[in-house]
């Protein structure tokens, strides 16, 4: 509902009329967990957080576009058949997992700092 109207408009402008948009629309909501993960991570300066957030959202938007094109191609070839499912499922699963991957890549230093456990044992002292 939030994405349908602008997405349909964009695709009409690009000459795509028979798209698999409705098949992937609900998977566009992976923006929300990425935003939530970015906002909730502690110990980041605001500017860095906003820049990385924008970068991650841009990557997700590009992936969504690629997803629509790929799913549309599968849908136009195989309709809603078991064969189509075999092609669509990996695409949608990777899309759904992408917020976690992006979060890890864009905020690696902060995440590592969050997971690091201070040890008294000198043998495991981190190297510089």
């Amino acid at each position: 509902m939030l994405f349908r109207a602008p997405a349909q408009f964009a695709f009409r402008q690009l000459g795509i009329y028979k798209s698999g948009l409705m098949l992937v629309l609900e998977h566009f909501t992976n923006l929300i967990p990425f935003i939530a993960l970015t906002v909730s991570l502690p110990g980041i300066r605001l500017k860095r957080r906003l820049v990385r957030l924008g970068l991650g959202l841009a990557v997700l938007a590009v992936v969504h576009f690629i997803l629509i094109v790929a799913v549309s191609a599968v849908y136009n070839t195989y309709a809603l058949s078991p064969t189509a499912y075999k092609y669509m499922f990996p695409l949608l699963t990777v899309n759904d997992a992408l917020p976690l991957v992006l979060w890890f890549l864009l905020f690696s230093e902060e995440i590592i700092a969050m997971f690091r456990v201070k040890k008294r044992d000198a043998a495991v002292e981190p190297t510089l």
């Binding site: 629309l25 609900e26 929300i32 993960l37 078991p82 075999k86 997992a97 690091r116």
Partner: protein
Amino acid sequence: MGKSGRAPNRRGKAPEASSGTTDPRKRRLIRFVITFLGILIVGAILYPYLSIALDEELRGFMAVTAGVCGGLLDVVSSDVSVSDRFLTFHGFSVEIIEECTGIFEMLIFLAALMSYPASWRSRAVGFALGLPALYLFNVLRIIFLTAVGVYYHNFFEFMHLYFWQATLILMITSVWVMWILLVVSREKKTTAFLA
């Protein structure tokens, strides 16, 4: 001793300066991401074939999930009925399909579990505790949406579409982070990964 009169470094050489490309932590992190995506893609390619081969078992799992949701709702209300994969609560019926069982979340969680450096013992603990946790989260999610369907019917489609997907990765991430903090972070091996 060298010309400066100072004793040499005990390791024999100066420690290597870390940079963005040679930082071993960054390299291990990138390896984790690549491994995670690789395992996920392989799992996602195999899953449709498995779901067709194990269709009866999957249908049984859907029915069990409907039964579990119905059992929990029965605690708060007697107006609950379950028929195969269909759950009815105060006259509002939902069908439990494949996506509702949490199996996709488990697939992503398993990929994250297997690609993060940890001992097999820690992974076994993650498997034993993480999968039921995800299943429980999923059951609560179904119950919540069913309640929305009963009491706020106009919002059901919106919540079903957006709430479901939006909470998917948050559920997985929270269970995975808890596993790392409570189980894996106690291992020396992980400390080496983070060092």
